[in-house]
């Protein structure tokens, strides 16, 4: 395998999830030309209703969410693709497709289904780290051997697609998992995803979800550092706690090739204009 790089017009990316399927286009004043890519919300094999409310809460430096990968499922997604619902999005900014599934087989099936459409996307990111689903997501990492096989099979299925694995810091060392991603011929990793957390909202309801926001920054910086130390030749998208231009610079300095913004969109979407 030769080393491939995503040729982004800018290293700034919208992270999978917070940006939905392009909804931020509805807001005027975002300088889309400053953005390298827009990652879609994770699409899974089957449609997902998501988790029961409440789904989000924030306190101090953390946001917690338990959306549970609500999405229309790959078949409905493809229909929307074909209907041209995302044409405006493709027009404005390169798109990275995020995929997920409940089981190994679903990850493979969705790959096969999406294969004819991959040329619309500059890369496909596989979400192996969503902590908010009972099956799939992060729990896929419980069997590293099986996971490795899955990576190999996906690589074989779509040999030309720029493949990115999104990894969290749980369920194995992120740098070791990144090495497996590299070994199986994938092109990049996105590190990190949310971290499993538990918070109580003002109504006293317990929220088991994924933590995002400013407090992730030192953990995500370390993850990027460790992955880059271990692997000089993998494409790295940093994710976690990016709110300021300085954060972007730090990630790039530590070896990230691109930096993604998630929760900061909720504070103010104009952050996108200010990060570079």
């Amino acid at each position: 395998m030769s080393i491939r790089k995503l040729n982004l017009r800018s290293p700034l990316i919208i992270a999978s999830g917070p940006g939905g399927f392009g909804e931020y286009l509805k807001i005027e004043g975002i300088e889309w030309n400053k953005l390298g890519a827009y990652t879609s919300k994770t699409v899974t094999y089957k449609p997902k209703e998501g988790n029961r409310p409440p789904r989000m809460y924030a306190k101090g430096g953390y946001l917690i969410n338990r959306i549970g990968l609500e999405n229309p499922g790959v078949h409905s997604f493809i229909k929307s693709l074909e209907n041209g619902e995302y044409d405006e999005l493709f027009d404005k900014v390169p798109v990275i497709l995020s995929l997920g599934g409940d089981f190994f087989e679903e990850y493979l099936s969705i790959t096969k289904i999406i294969k004819p459409y991959t040329s619309k996307f500059i890369a496909v990111e596989y979400n192996f780290s969503c902590p908010n689903v009972k099956r799939g997501g992060l729990s896929i990492m419980s069997d590293i051997g099986e996971w490795k096989n899955l990576l190999k099979e996906i690589r074989t299925e779509v040999p030309d697609v720029f493949l990115i694995a999104k990894l969290g810091i749980e369920g194995g060392f992120v740098e070791e998992n990144a090495a497996i991603v590299k070994d199986t011929g994938w092109d990049g990793v996105t590190v990190i995803n949310t971290i499993r957390g538990l918070m109580f909202n003002d109504e006293g309801e317990m929220i088991l979800g994924g933590l995002s926001g400013p407090n992730l920054l030192p953990i995500a910086l370390r993850a990027v550092y460790e992955v880059r130390k271990r692997l000089s030749d993998i494409f790295i998208i940093a994710s976690g706690g990016v709110y300021k231009r300085e954060d972007v610079e730090l990630f790039l300095k530590l070896g990230a090739d691109a930096v993604s913004v998630g929760s900061a969109l909720f504070k103010n979407e104009k952050v996108l204009n200010e990060l570079l």
Binding site: F21, K26, G213
Partner: protein, 246 residues
């Protein structure tokens, strides 16, 4: 889901607005009136406000009008709402969001016969709706109103009601009234009680769920409804009380 078009025709923008006047409604709730008529919106819609370093998300508030100016009412419940009430800086508002409120069928809305019941935190919205449809407004509070505030609005088509049992009494009266619909906006609990007690009526409620984006992207504002998961920001914020699970 996966649908890029917003139901409202207006493009969503962020506006930096300055406060014109702030009126105290109750001990912890304020009516904030902004300068100028910055953008078009309809009743029922809401905005998301950037609270600077006082919160990780923009904060949703229903929109209203007061003497031709954009107005919101804000109950101080945490750092973000305190900031909004206290700051003298420009306020960064993303709007308009959500769908306009329309009682019954659009064609017949203006003839329909309704009433608006709001907590002080939703005064701006309630006032706007009551003016638009020319229907009575009840402002109900657990704690006393500022006398100055009551003074200011006494002559309008509006009643101030204080106390839990007074609120319960109101719901009973309205249930037996000949109004067609009741619009209720306030705390989750208040809306729940209203829906339960007003069982003879069509009740519209403006829902509260934690919002990340306000524009349909994040899926945080889900509510369960008869028809499956709905999203407050893009399907609401106003729903029929009998159609959502409270």
């Amino acid at each position: 889901m996966g649908n890029l078009s917003n139901k409202s025709s207006e493009k969503i923008k962020s506006y930096k607005l300055s406060k014109k006047e702030v009126f105290q409604i109750t001990a912890d709730t304020y009516l904030i009136v902004f300068e100028g008529g910055s953008f078009d919106f309809d009743c029922g819609q809401f905005c998301m406000i950037d609270v600077d370093s006082y919160g990780l998300t923009r904060k949703p508030f229903t929109l209203g009008k007061f003497e031709g100016n954009l107005a919101i009412s804000v109950k101080i419940v945490g750092d973000g709402t305190r900031y909004i009430v206290e700051t003298n800086e420009l306020i960064d508002i993303l709007a308009p969001l959500g769908n306009p409120f329309m009682p019954g069928e659009p064609e017949r809305a203006r003839e329909s016969n309704g009433v608006v019941v709001v907590a002080p935190s939703c005064f701006a919205e309630g006032y706007f709706i009551s003016q638009k449809f020319n229907v009575p407004l009840y402002v109900t509070s657990k704690t006393p109103f500022s006398e100055k505030f009551v003074e200011k609005f006494r002559d309008k088509n509006m009643e101030f009601i204080v106390g839990d049992s007074e609120f319960l009494g109101l719901t009973e009266r309205l249930n037996d009234s000949d109004f067609d619909w009741i619009f209720v906006s306030g705390s989750k609990n208040m809306e729940k009680i209203a829906v339960k007690n007003l069982y003879k009526k069509i009740v519209y409620i403006s829902l509260n769920e934690y919002m990340g984006c306000g524009i349909g992207a994040c899926k945080s504002c889900a509510v369960e409804s008869k028809y499956g998961i709905k999203h407050v920001c893009t399907d609401g914020p106003v729903f029929r009380g009998d159609e959502v699970c409270l």
